[in-house]
Structures are given as structure tokens and as C-alpha cells.
Subunit: 230 residues, 2 copies
């Protein structure tokens, strides 16, 4: 996220020129395993569409990867979903912030991060079985273990929900890890330098005020953590 | 982020039709104070641009609000920055995830979140004084208190950095707070329901392996927290 060298050295061939990493290529990767891990750990995605005038819109949304696609869902009346269903080109980006990189000079400050970007056109999911599986994937993406404990979608709920599948074909990952990298002469400066690691941490549970008496929070709630997190 | 009622009731007049909240309007706001608070607390933004073919790209970036603009910076060679400097329409979205909303039915699962979206065209910042002030704003956005402890940008560093200002004119905020909202008959189900609050928490500091002996981490590092966070 700033003009710095990096610790990342994995880079294969880009699947298309559109996702070819132009800047700081040494931070990038087209490796599916790396891309999938970032998609799976990130809680939300930012979905980009453009209108006819070329005006882009970036919308936060819950998502879930399932095999070679990423599912999103929403109201069939949503502008974003209608645009995507009509076959408009899309971009889906997820980003994880792992730490703040404090260098001795202003310009070498940065963030340690992992991000993945997919571009392509989404396919509307019409088949009720795939739709249900997609919604299950989204719920299990948010809280693994949750699906079996809740009422599944009714036929009417399925009909009232638009689901889209974006293929993981044109995709890339980018990351920065490790300590700050300063200009050699700046290492003599008296400033503290290092990384403030950041993680998304669950706080004290807030049970629904209407929770029935005697229902304890299950293990997947009390010991909640993001997939991929140690 | 899913089709649910909400606790939010503030909504004024949209500054343009393009940022008018179409879906779940009761969750939205055009209030500058609300928008500014979300921009200030969020560590990163997702910046959307579209190429000539209408293909959108969504790029994570560090940002900083200063008065009525949001600054971003990067290499003058970056595709994103060159596109923005050429006056292309842009969208900048920031999102904070405050919690996971576990309902008794699959379809009423959601996230508590706050997001802000700006659309418009960015202005290239050429004046060295404004450029320096913008970079200071970005550093202070990441770690408040940091700027005075580090070497400021040199003239060459300033020249080698592109800075853009996106006006906060066409903007909206959206949020969800509070407990799950289930269908009335589902409250009888035996599933646990409630919210898992999530916050971004600093972990044990990682001092630079090349940190000079005897330099302690300053208070703004040891007691780091996001602005706006209690």
C-alpha cells in the first residue's frame, strides 16, 4: 500500500493481462491456494460495478467461496445485483489488514495486508439446489458450524433472494509482510520502528434479548475465530 | 448486508441521485458527521475505477480524511492513480464490521457494520505544501501522533508520490446495529441467537529487528487504538 519492497516472492503467470500485477509485482501471486485462503478468511468483500456512464460503485457485501466460484446474495431489487445479473463486468476484492508498519521515515510507513481481486462476469444462480448450497456456503463462511442449527431458507425466501456466482478465473493476490524497510541512512534515526499487528477479535457475546431461557451459546460461537487464523 | 429491518432512522436528503440509498433506506444517512466518523475510523478504503471497456477495478488503499476531502497516494506509475489523475469517475468505500448477527433462521443472518461511500472525480494534488499536508494526514490517520517522530518526506520523495483528493460531496453512510430480527414464529426455535461483536485489536508489538538499543515504543504505539473506538 506504499512504495516499499516486500517479502513476497511467489508469482506465477497471470491468467489474463487485466489482473497482471503491474506495481510491486514481487508482492503478488496468481496462486489459487493463496487466493482461496484470503477469500476464505476475509469476512466481507467489496464488489465493484460500473454504470453506463462509467461511474464505478463499490459495495461491501458478505460472500463465500465454494470451489471455483464466489457467491454473493441480496435482494433481487438491488441495483448492484440487477447490474450483475445483466452480465456487467464486475470486480470483487477482499482485504485483510494484518498490521501497521511504522518506519523511521514518513514515506516508508505501510500496512501488512493480504488482498485478493477477481474480475469477470457473474452468473445468476437460478437452480434452487445450487441457490440453497450458496446460501449455506455464505452462512458457513460467516460462522462455520452454524447452518445445521438454524431454520433453512423456505421456498419463498429462496425466491426472494438473488444469488450470483463469480468465477475465480481472472484473479490475483497481493500481500505485504514483515518489518519496515527504511532508507539505509534512516536506520540511525532515534524513532521507534516496527509493526503493530492487528487482528479481528471477538468480544463479549451479546445474546438476543429475546433468547429463550436455557439456551447456551454453542462452541462455534464461544470459541469463534476466522478460518485460517491460528 | 442482508434483507433485514434495522435500528437506524437518520436519513436526510441525498446530495445526488447517484448516492441515493435505494435499498434498506432506513439504514442510511447523508449526514456528514456520520460519514466523517466512519472515514476516520476505517484503516483502509476500497477505491473503484473503471477502464474504457467499463471493467471496474477495486483497489485497497490507505486513505485519510482532511476537512472536506479524502486523500489517497501512491506511485505516479500506478494504473489506478493515473486513471484517477486523468479525471475518471471514482468511488471510494470504507467499511467497518462491528459484529456477526446470528439469527434463528439462515436468511436473517447478517453483519453489524458501518460503511461510507463517496463518488466523484479526484483532483491531483500538485502544490508541495498540500501534498505534504496530505501525507501527514495519511500517517496521522494510520497512527495518530506518529508524524512528529519520523523523518518527513524529502523533495524527491514528494515528487515521486502521486496524491489525489476526492471531495466529500456525493456521499452516503449505511449501517446496521443491534440484535437479530427473526420472523415471529422463529423465536420459538431452540437455536442460540445474538451478536458476536468483533473489533480490530492490536497484538504484541513486533519491534524492527534493526531497532536501535534503548528506544522504547511511544505511548501512541503501546496504547494504540482506532480513533472513534471507545
Amino acid at each position: 500500500m506504499s512504495a516499499q519492497p516486500s517479502r513476497m516472492a511467489t508469482a506465477a503467470t497471470p491468467p489474463s493481462d487485466r489482473v497482471r500485477l503491474r506495481r510491486k509485482r514481487e508482492r503478488g501471486s496468481y496462486d489459487r491456494e493463496a487466493i482461496d485462503a484470503i477469500l476464505d478468511e476475509a469476512l466481507i468483500a467489496h464488489l465493484g460495478i460500473a454504470d453506463e456512464s462509467g461511474q464505478p460503485y463499490v459495495i461491501p457485501t458478505l460472500h463465500a467461496r465454494s470451489g471455483d466460484v464466489v457467491y454473493c446474495h441480496g435482494s433481487p431489487a438491488s441495483r448492484t445485483l440487477r447490474t450483475l445479473q445483466a452480465g456487467a463486468p464486475a470486480c470483487l476484492t477482499v482485504s485483510l489488514i494484518d498490521g501497521l508498519v511504522l518506519a523511521r521515515s514518513a514515506m516508508h510507513h505501510s500496512a501488512n495486508y493480504r488482498s485478493a481481486m477477481l474480475i469477470g462476469r457473474a452468473r445468476p444462480v437460478e437452480d434452487p439446489r445450487e441457490k440453497r448450497a450458496a446460501l449455506r456456503a455464505v452462512i458457513e463462511h460467516i460462522v462455520p458450524g452454524r447452518w445445521d442449527d438454524v431454520r433453512p431458507p423456505s421456498e419463498n425466501e429462496l425466491k426472494a433472494t438473488a444469488v450470483l456466482a463469480l468465477p475465480i478465473e481472472e484473479a490475483s493476490a497481493k500481500l505485504r509482510t514483515g518489518a519496515p524497510v527504511d532508507d539505509e541512512q534512516d536506520y540511525a534515526l532515534p524513532a521507534w520502528a516496527g509493526v503493530i499487528p492487528l487482528t479481528s477479535e471477538p468480544q463479549a457475546l451479546q445474546p438476543d434479548p429475546r433468547l429463550r431461557a436455557g439456551i447456551a451459546a454453542p462452541d462455534y460461537v464461544t470459541s469463534y475465530r476466522r478460518p485460517g487464523r491460528p
